[in-house]
């Protein structure tokens, strides 16, 4: 039986990175995610797997270190919290443009600005709609437990390399600071340069053999026609991702008359709200998007005909609700309930809001 440990979400991220054969972590401390780098430093993976752990001089620097590492086909990652992620958005756009894989963890805190260190989900737009410039997308995974924090590191790297795309774990201070049971998975070895080529193709700059031309990795393409072709290819890729990679969890949805949509820590709270509603005889279900991009639009559309109403529940002013409304397209009422700036709702509070909005 695999070992079961009691770990914080942030610690789980670090342990998973080492055990999943990550080549490098580059980051800069910020609450509420500092335990990621602290745990990596304590574990000293450079002495075991050879993984590099480096505190950069800033978040801007971290993301550009990722750019360099990713060019060499390495499994590289960083973690930060909201203000730090804002600094990384330029780099994310460059990496999306250059089609480079990497894993970025955002343990969201309340904003805007320096905000607060308490949990929030105010960075949904930034993550899903592109915090940087240009027509790009990144894959966004939203864990709702410490075990998922652990598991999504491996999943995130796999997806990042499969599609050559930056992938983000969008978490928050609650999941980052919370301790739960974690089952460690079997360790995966770091890849050699030869294995990288064999596994992911020969796009990485790991040394030019005589058999092919040199690889040039860049996000610059001055001719409009070339740049448009790149954009079309990117859009094609995003479409493939939307068709193949939607992940979600449904709770008590089969007979539901009403449905909550919530991700991450909000979804955990809403699970209890569903229990409260069911005790009162109200058939309420919960849809938890696990991938925020690709968003589970078809899942919502399939559910809509049986529903009298949907409420999106988020720790922000109403961001994901826009995607829910696009999916529903006016077929049923879509309401929103949220809190901001590091304040968290209780299950009872969510139920009260739900009952008021739908006059139940």
């Amino acid at each position: 039986m695999a070992e079961k440990l009691l770990k914080k979400g942030n610690e789980a991220i670090a342990l998973a990175a080492i055990r999943y054969g990550a080549d490098g972590y580059f980051g800069y401390p910020i609450t509420p995610q500092s335990e990621v780098m602290e745990t990596l430093m304590e574990e000293m993976p450079w002495e075991t797997t050879g993984m590099v752990v480096l505190q950069a001089e800033s978040e801007t620097s971290s993301i550009n270190m990722l750019y360099g590492g990713a060019c060499c086909g390495k499994k590289v990652m960083t973690s930060s919290s909201s203000p730090g992620i804002s600094l990384m958005c330029e780099g994310l756009s460059y990496m999306a443009g250059a089609e480079l894989p990497c894993l970025v963890v955002n343990v969201i805190r309340g904003g805007p600005g320096l905000g607060t260190i308490q949990p929030a989900q105010g960075d949904y737009f930034q993550a899903v709609k592109g915090g940087g410039h240009g027509d790009y997308k990144i894959i966004v995974l939203a864990p709702a437990s410490v075990q998922e924090m652990y598991d999504f590191v491996g999943l995130g790297f796999d997806l990042a390399f499969k599609y050559r795309i930056p992938t983000m774990i969008l978490s928050d201070g609650a999941i980052g600071q919370m301790m739960e049971k974690v089952e460690l998975r079997d360790p995966v070895k770091r890849l050699t340069d030869e294995e990288i080529v064999e596994k992911y193709g020969d796009w990485a700059t790991v040394g030019k053999p005589a058999t092919r031309n040199g690889n040039i990795i860049s996000s610059l393409s001055l001719a409009a026609s070339e740049m448009e072709a790149i954009n079309l290819r990117l859009q094609e890729k995003y479409k493939t991702i939307e068709e193949n990679e939607i992940r979600f969890e449904k709770l008590m949805c089969d007979d539901a008359d009403y449905m909550l949509v919530a991700f991450g820590s909000s979804a955990r709270i809403c699970e209890s709200t569903v229990e409260i509603a069911r005790e009162k005889g109200i058939r309420l279900g919960l849809l938890r998007p696990i991938t925020l991009f690709p968003f589970p639009t078809p899942v919502i559309q399939k559910m809509t005909p049986q529903l009298k109403g949907i409420m999106s529940v988020e720790l922000n002013s109403g961001q994901m609700v826009e995607d829910v409304r696009l999916a529903v397209n006016g077929a049923v009422p879509v309401e929103f309930y949220g809190r901001m700036g590091g304040s968290i709702f209780s299950p009872e509070e969510v139920f009260k809001a739900f009952a008021e909005k739908f006059k139940l």
């Binding site: 440990l5 201070g173 600071q177 301790m179 709270i269 809403c270 590091g342 209780s346 299950p347 009872e348």
Partner: protein, 181 residues
């Protein structure tokens, strides 16, 4: 079985580590557990609290409006958490430094003179284990052997020599807990 509890007191009283030991003990007994600390500005204000949930089934919300048990170790926490205990729930507190004692009649109230006892026994560092013992006596949700295992898992190996003292502290709490209401 599902137990939702809040432990609250001053920073330095071992509130967070007591919760951690309890959660680890839960894992040792094959339970699902969640440990959710207060880590915000209130930590800087001198009070600390942690929510621990131990359950046979998957745990939904880590955020509680009501709790089954509140373990209260200072006045601020008494004011804040006494009203949060579910009807029929448990409030366990150390009377040391408490000016306004609990007034609710619809819950079970127990006290443990943990500060006083641990000082007298010259094990003030194990203060929180005295409280833990008192709690486990009133609510025996976990086997003692699993609690000792949880303690071992929580403490770094260099402190394992302190385990017998912690075990004594737990027993001390078990013996001295009093039912008030």
């Amino acid at each position: 079985m599902k137990e939702e509890l809040i432990i609250a007191g001053f920073g330095g009283q071992g509130v967070l580590s007591m919760g951690r030991i309890l959660a680890y003990s839960g894992i040792m007994q094959d339970k699902e557990v969640t440990w959710m600390p207060s880590y915000g500005p209130e930590m800087r204000g001198g009070t600390a609290n942690v929510t621990v949930i131990i359950s046979d089934k998957r745990i939904s919300s880590p955020i509680l409006q009501w709790c089954d048990t509140a373990i209260v170790l200072n006045q601020q926490s008494m004011d804040k958490f006494e009203p949060m205990v579910k009807k029929g729930g448990l409030l366990l507190y150390d009377p040391n430094g408490i000016i306004r004692h609990p007034t609710r009649k619809d819950i079970k109230v127990c006290s443990i003179e943990a500060a006083d006892l641990s000082n007298r026994m010259e094990m003030s560092k194990a203060f929180n284990m005295v409280v833990l013992g008192a709690y486990l006596k009133v609510k025996p949700i976990l086997e003692k052997e699993n609690v000792i295992k949880g303690l071992k898992k929580s403490l770094p190996e260099r402190y394992h020599n302190l385990i017998p003292m912690n075990e004594q502290a737990i027993e001390l709490g078990m013996r001295h807990v009093k039912e008030v209401i």
